[in-house]
Symmetry: C2
Subunit: 425 residues, 2 copies
């Protein structure tokens, strides 16, 4: 984490001509966004897995599903009333003997004898021979006869098989995020499983000798590791499957062992935090730069130092993409949201995080040449107020926020009442 001769943002301190320029030598956020997108491209398309309906909630369909049956499967009544033949009531008013009732239970369908009526309930199978349903509201009963006041149309109040969906019709499209109503429709079509995209298997590794496991006593200069918990939960919350979580000191062998473990557990994407800035003891850089990592300092605050890399997969599969975040908890969580979350959301069929324009409740300042991501809270009437300051250590302030406020690179000051772009957290 420390440095000598170079600052974290990589500028050589002994070169006066650059030492006072806070904007040069920094890469645009958009360049790194595109770089990570390209790195993660091999995660698409997702392999398909078949899940029982009870396990498929919030998964996304891998293919279009067509109905294997007619929905509804049989001709049934849309009303409580009487099944008759339209011809028998054409000369209405008429009175027909009630020849029985249809029970909505398995068995051979009832049959309607000409000149009679059969009592029927909503959803019950229409008896053979009947071609119209007279709603009970339009009838009078006496002495086992039903009086029908007027003639009826053939087919009235009858649900034909397939009136909801025919065999082979599309029941669900590909890419459908499965909510309860979708699972209900699959079950109604007699299906017990559904083909969904496999979840992306993610590994999360926190680095830094200053880190201790949450709950352990803190020595001088030590802090609990918040990044592991936060990044793993963030990945899970948008449909990823976290297969490995590790924490390692600034020790190259330890990090290599963790990366191998993540690979052995089938990780398809590895996220690291810490060890990626410009000091002498940057373990992520030490391990990954010799293997071709691309390390960069971005024109953003917080979260300047970032990297992309890859690690050999076990059993000769394709290399595993690694996205390396800085170690400050706010920086790493913000970086996840900015660079990785959009891809994971899309692969899991989730909506992108809502972005809207809101009105600042208070003025703010920003560093020239940096895209600043401030933490904010929405206020009534389309406003937004900042929560805490710009510093990357304010984890409690982040927890108290519900949006990020995005301040463009070329903006250094905003007044109360100015409009800003906000991203929903």
């Amino acid at each position: 984490m420390a440095g000598a001769g170079r600052s974290r943002d990589g500028r050589i301190l002994s070169v006066p001509s650059r030492a006072h320029d806070a904007t040069t030598a920094r890469t645009s956020v958009d360049v790194h966004v595109a770089r990570v997108l390209e790195l993660l491209a091999p995660l698409t398309p997702r392999p398909t897995i078949i899940l029982p309906l009870a396990q498929a909630l919030d998964r996304v369909t891998a293919a279009e599903t067509v109905s294997p049956i007619e929905l509804p499967p049989f001709r049934n009544s849309q009303m409580d009333g009487f099944a008759v033949r339209a011809a028998d009531v054409a000369s209405a008013p008429v009175s027909l003997p009630i020849a029985g009732e249809v029970v909505a239970a398995p068995g051979t369908p009832a049959e309607l004898r000409p000149g009679t009526a059969v009592r029927i309930m909503t959803g019950a199978p229409v008896p053979d021979g009947a071609d119209t349903i007279v709603p009970v509201e339009d009838t009078l009963e006496a002495n086992d006869h039903v009086s029908i006041a007027r003639g009826r149309r053939v087919g009235e109040y009858i649900r034909e098989p397939g009136s909801d969906l025919h065999i082979g019709d599309v029941l669900l499209p590909a890419g459908q995020l499965l909510a309860s109503r979708h699972l209900g429709a699959l079950a109604a079509a007699g299906l017990t499983t559904v083909a969904v995209r496999s979840a992306v298997r993610v590994a999360v590794i926190s680095t830094g000798s200053e880190l201790v496991a949450p709950g352990e006593p803190l020595g001088p200069g030590q802090i609990p590791d918040a990044n592991g918990v936060a990044l793993a939960a963030a990945a899970r919350s948008i449909g990823a499957d976290v297969v490995f979580e590790g924490r390692v000191r600034d020790d190259a062998d330890g990090l290599e062992a963790m990366l191998d473990a993540a690979a052995a557990l089938g990780a398809e994407l590895i996220l690291t935090s810490g060890g990626v800035s410009m000091g002498d003891h940057e373990v992520v850089r030490d391990v990954l730069e010799p293997r071709g990592a691309h390390v960069d300092v971005l024109a953003m605050q917080p979260g300047g130092p970032q990297a992309v890399a890859s690690w050999p997969a076990s059993r000769g599969a394709a290399a595993i993409p690694i996205v390396c975040f800085p170690g400050n908890p706010v920086s790493s969580q913000l970086s996840f949201e900015l660079f990785v979350a959009p891809t994971l959301r899309e692969l899991a069929g989730r909506l992108a995080a809502a972005r809207e324009t809101r009105v600042l409740d208070s003025p703010l300042r920003s560093i020239p040449g940096r895209r600043q991501f401030l933490r904010g809270r929405r206020t009534p009437g389309g406003g937004v107020t900042t929560v805490g300051g710009p510093s990357s250590h304010l984890v409690a302030a982040l927890a108290a926020s519900d949006v990020l406020i995005v301040v463009p690179e070329n903006v250094t000051e905003l007044a109360k009442g100015d409009s800003v772009e906000t991203w929903e957290l």
Copy 2:
């Protein structure tokens, strides 16, 4: 499911004075909403359980959480640069010898000797004796000395312990739905667990002799049970814990056995579908009315027949509330959303389903005296279009919908361009 002498909505067919009135003898939707709310009141407050952070995503905090430590825990640098004493640079420009660097790793804190500067990185502990940080941008280095152009304020660019949160300050409020940033803040404070509300334990029971398990071959008059899958998934999707799912024919003994099983498994809320309308073979009514069930027919479409009841808990606990829905899949899913979901969402700390006003893309008709819930899909520009018809058998149309369109009891016709209330699904 069938009836003789009475229609499903309970009107005696041989009484002409009521037979033509579609609106009398129906209870307001709001009355039943209040009835279910009262029935479910004992589910609040929720017992508290302690969960590891890794299992607490999307749970809701049971109590306010305060920070057990200062955040940050120690005095550290907000910038890459040099730690100095303000007094030593008061006579700037000055040049100070670089006496070392601070590594952000455990160990005894470095100490700053008067008249020297110590190189420091963002987040590293400020050495004893130093009272200000000079950002690297404001310095020049040569021959192991650093030149500082102007004087600095005491405390500048130093993060004091507790500058994010002090010991005892509120880290998270009670009732907080836990997202990744909240879990990250808890971990940063050195916490490993969090007190959350226990999930409501729900049992789902489908009734009807016409039902077969999804995937079983369909005989005449048989349909797959969609309600079990849909209601269980709907309950899970808003934070409930589904502890029992059953399906039973129109058989009183079978239903009683299922209710006992649900009780034995600790269900706190039982949801049934089917068997609650006005026929002779209504198994839910047959079993529960002698035990004090309140059966009603509501002024709504779909979903008229509804009931509330209770069942003895095992081991003498309080009676278990039962909410009984009609059997049609669309009716039961809509009834869950209307009567039960709001309470379950609140107990799980979830937001209520969004309700907004939209403009109809097409005209529609509705039955006088019924609150109609049509299935709809949002269209660009604040519009909404109906999907499928009003009939309660259209499960595929429900799956293709993203909102419910609510048509009030006193409205029988709406024109294209009229405004309607929509509920997000």
